[in-house]
């Protein structure tokens, strides 16, 4: 049985990456080595993939990131939902179990700023809560396949970046967290009108397991791109891997 798609992908999308693909073929990766990697991925077996195959897969992932960034519409809003559909409490998820969550003391907490930002003084929680607030009911979609609808409130990341004099032409916004879960996003998504620094869920202060006192919520990226317990924000032109990116996950992770 042969695989024949009804509608073929447009090959023009790959033109910009033709040298990369030709380079991969020259090294015989696609024809040879990748078959082993493909088999291990399909079966879920813990087979060791050659380093060259890992590099090839990551190169494809970076290409995919570029395509997604190119397709991203900074003004297009994700669907929103009625309050009756909000799951409360929300679903907990992290790379560790809930019993290992370390609560953050909001009274001592400070949001540190770094990089291409004019005013780098740390922010307290009351200062952040005094900024203009926005609420949105959006869907959280996990790479694992589950989702839920949640109501998040806080200050728009765009508003915050403007207030601190961040360079909005920079490429990346990087987050550091109390649970050592670094993450970075593109500036276009940071400025999206549904990208929030959230301090509330369902009109109540964020509970500890969901990122108190401050977390990121974006309607346009997969769940793992939304760090909780944020402690620092950096604006930069230097790419930095996040927790899952270091393990091979896609960086852009758009929806």
């Amino acid at each position: 049985m042969s695989f024949r798609p009804v509608k073929r992908p447009n090959s023009a999308i790959l033109d910009g990456h033709r040298p990369l693909l030709q380079s991969l073929e020259r090294r015989g990766l696609i024809r040879g080595g990748l078959s082993l990697g493909a088999l291990s991925l399909l079966t879920g077996c813990d087979m060791t993939r050659p380093q060259s195959v890992e590099e090839a897969l990551l190169a494809i992932s970076r290409m995919n990131d570029s395509v997604q960034a190119w397709l991203f519409d900074p003004n297009k809003l994700a669907p929103t939902y009625p309050a009756s559909m909000v799951l409360n409490p929300p679903k907990f998820n992290a790379y560790y179990d809930v019993m290992d969550v370390k609560s953050v003391d909001g009274s001592n907490w400070r949001l540190e700023l770094a990089g291409l930002i004019a005013e780098k003084r740390p922010w307290t929680l009351p200062q952040i809560n005094a900024l203009p607030q926005q609420s949105e009911i959006i869907k959280h979609i996990c790479v694992e396949g589950w989702d839920y609808i949640g109501q998040w409130s806080g200050v728009l990341l765009r508003t915050f970046l403007e207030r601190v004099g961040a360079d909005l032409n920079a490429k990346y916004v990087v987050f550091k967290t109390a649970d050592d879960y670094p993450s970075s996003i593109d500036m276009a998504t940071a400025l999206h009108p549904q990208t929030l620094l959230a301090t509330q869920y369902a009109n109540a202060t964020l509970a500890d397991p969901f990122g108190y006192p401050l977390r990121l919520r974006m309607s346009t990226k997969l769940g793992y791109k939304n760090p909780k317990w944020i402690t620092a924000i950096e604006v930069t032109n230097t790419y930095q891997d996040g927790y899952w990116e270091k393990l091979g996950f896609p960086w852009f992770a758009g929806l």
Binding site: P5, S61, V67, Y96, D97, G145
Partner: protein, 171 residues
């Protein structure tokens, strides 16, 4: 999600890649997606309480969250394993004679026949999004619990707020 753009007028026949190469690239993208799914959550959630720890102490470590009793009813109850095996449905929250709370869960049965109610301490349950997991009893232990006779329990008001712990997905 991986998105394949629709064909546009920008593709000229002279630049068209061989089908085999196109498919190879498509397969690579597909496989990469598969790799990410399998890599999430390296540690399982829903682990049972450590030996010697009381149910209440264990539940307190799971950041119990307030939830209205009415919002819990009819939620699916699953086993905290990767396959998320179905155990039953949460029918009612009741107050036991010692004042503690228990959930009445339907067990077993087929197509609505043969099911029976058992009472499971709320402290043995966790919320996993919109489903409930039993973390302190194995399915075999659940099936050894005595059946609850309808009408012999004290239901908790649907408007009452109780607290239930959390877990991360068990995969």
């Amino acid at each position: 999600m991986i998105q394949f753009p629709q064909a546009t007028n920008g593709a000229s026949p002279g630049h068209r890649m061989p089908l085999a190469r196109q498919l190879t690239t498509a397969v690579l993208l597909f496989l990469l997606q598969g790799a990410t799914v399998s890599a999430q959550s390296p540690t399982p959630g829903g682990a049972p309480p450590p030996p010697g720890m009381s149910l209440a102490a264990s539940a307190a470590m799971r950041f119990p969250q307030p939830i209205q009793v009415g919002d819990l009813l009819q939620r699916i109850v699953i086993e905290p394993v990767e396959s998320q095996s179905y155990l039953g449905k949460l029918e009612q929250i009741v107050r036991q004679s010692d004042g503690s709370l228990a959930a009445l869960i339907t067990l077993d049965g087929f197509l609505g026949f043969g099911a029976r109610l058992v009472a499971v301490p709320v402290d043995a349950l966790v919320l996993l999004g919109n489903v409930v997991e039993v973390v302190a009893f194995t399915p075999a232990q659940l099936r050894q619990l005595p059946s609850v006779v309808p009408g012999t329990t004290t239901p908790v008001s649907l408007n009452e707020i109780i607290k239930v712990g959390l877990a991360k997905p068990s995969h």
